[in-house]
């Protein structure tokens, strides 16, 4: 809206206001002189001026709308772009990719954790059992036959310990690698965020244009306020620490519940 600086606060072109002022004076003169036919012609002229200004505004709105649509790259006249995916469709594809990637990473990580945890358990239990036997040996409470048993068991423990430690190490490094989604999804989310910002700017200028037309035509919209029900859930809250109506963590929840007698 490069020409908005030339306008008065009511959104009228200087040309229109000039004409309005001149003809209003003429109108008063005609009415005072009793020349009603001339007065009616002037009123018609005035409404024509108003209509023309409105048409100009609508024309500009249409041009801007076309511009905005071109910026979304979904201009239907361009065969090349028609074939290509629109940015918007692409954005939802990209976000689906993010959901897929994060889901895969979470499941891969949990697979490896579930595989690793029992191994840690077994090592711990066997080490504790061997330690008990070892203490018995040191207290010289062990028979030679039992010692031979323990000898073999310790040997076996060292063998499994080595291979289990390798498995655990490998699983941990695979868990590390499974976090590489962050880089990819981060880039995708940044691209989509930029697109959303772009769309927001275009929509904002459309809203400004539309409100100018509303001012010119004197249209008043009745806007029903949409009530979002918290009962269905609203999801995670951003900037929770800066908001009064949102808890900032489990401690806040506990305080709130205990204040209710929980």
């Amino acid at each position: 809206m490069s020409d908005s600086n030339n306008k008065n606060p009511q959104g009228l072109d200087p040309e229109v206001t000039e004409k309005l002022r001149a003809q209003a004076n003429a109108l008063v003169e005609h009415v005072n002189a009793g020349d009603y036919a001339q007065a009616m012609t002037l009123i018609n002229d005035l409404s024509e001026v108003r209509d023309q200004s409105l048409y100009r505004e609508v024309g500009r709105l249409t041009r801007s709308l076309h511009e905005a649509i071109r910026n979304f790259q979904i201009d239907p006249r361009n065969a090349e772009q028609q074939e290509a995916l629109s940015k918007m469709t692409d954005a939802s594809d990209r976000l689906e990719y993010v959901v897929k990637m994060t889901g895969q990473a979470a499941n891969r990580t949990m697979d490896l954790v579930e595989e690793t945890m029992p191994k840690a358990h077994v090592i711990r239990d066997e080490a504790a059992a061997l330690r008990d036997e070892w203490l018995r040996l040191r207290r010289r409470e062990m028979q030679p036959a039992e010692f031979r048993d323990l000898y073999g068991r310790i040997d076996q423990f060292f063998v499994t310990l080595t291979s289990d430690a390798d498995t655990i190490y490998n699983n941990l490094s695979e868990i590390l690698l499974a976090q590489d989604f962050q880089d990819l999804t981060g880039q995708v989310i940044q691209k989509v965020t930029n697109l959303v910002k772009e769309v927001e700017e275009h929509l904002l200028s459309l809203v400004v244009m539309a409100s100018h037309v509303d001012q010119l035509t004197g249209t008043v919209h009745e806007i029903e306020s949409a009530d979002v029900s918290a009962e269905q859930g609203v999801g995670p809250q951003m900037n929770a620490d800066k908001r009064e109506d949102v808890v900032s963590g489990q401690d806040d929840v506990d305080d709130l519940l205990s204040s209710l007698g929980f």
Binding site: E231, Q232, G233, V234
Partner: protein, 123 residues
């Protein structure tokens, strides 16, 4: 002890299932929203319900109210594990009869503490 875990994300169900197993609760089932959970609860003789709030279909809050309104189920202990963090929502859940409320993201220690507290109070 038979526990039903209700969350629309399989990842979260798996995390909770693992944490519960570490706490010694190995008998768990899963459902992905209230509509799936309610018939399971009615026929499955569950001792404990862990539910998310925000789910497509039937929300966890509606499930909570449905359970409390059911003559057979109304005493079932319910722990809400959810990203819903508005004070109004927590108050509403408390008034609807929830036994515990854990906000995501949470730690294993918090989940353990809340579950133990619920069982302490029941016994």
């Amino acid at each position: 002890m038979k526990i039903l875990i209700v969350d629309d994300f399989s990842t979260m169900r798996r995390i909770i299932k693992n944490l519960l197993r570490d706490l010694g609760f190995t008998n768990t089932d899963e459902a992905d929203d209230g509509n799936t959970a309610l018939p399971m609860l009615k026929s499955g003789k569950y001792d404990f319900l862990v539910t998310d709030w925000n789910m497509p279909g039937m929300s966890g809050f509606d499930l909570l109210k449905a359970v409390r309104a059911d003559e057979e189920l109304k005493t079932l202990p319910i722990l809400m594990v959810t990203a819903e963090a508005k004070r109004d929502q927590i108050v509403a859940a408390a008034q609807a009869g929830v036994n515990g409320y854990v906000v995501k993201p949470f730690t294993a220690a918090v989940l353990k503490e809340k579950i133990e507290k619920i069982f302490e109070r029941i016994q």
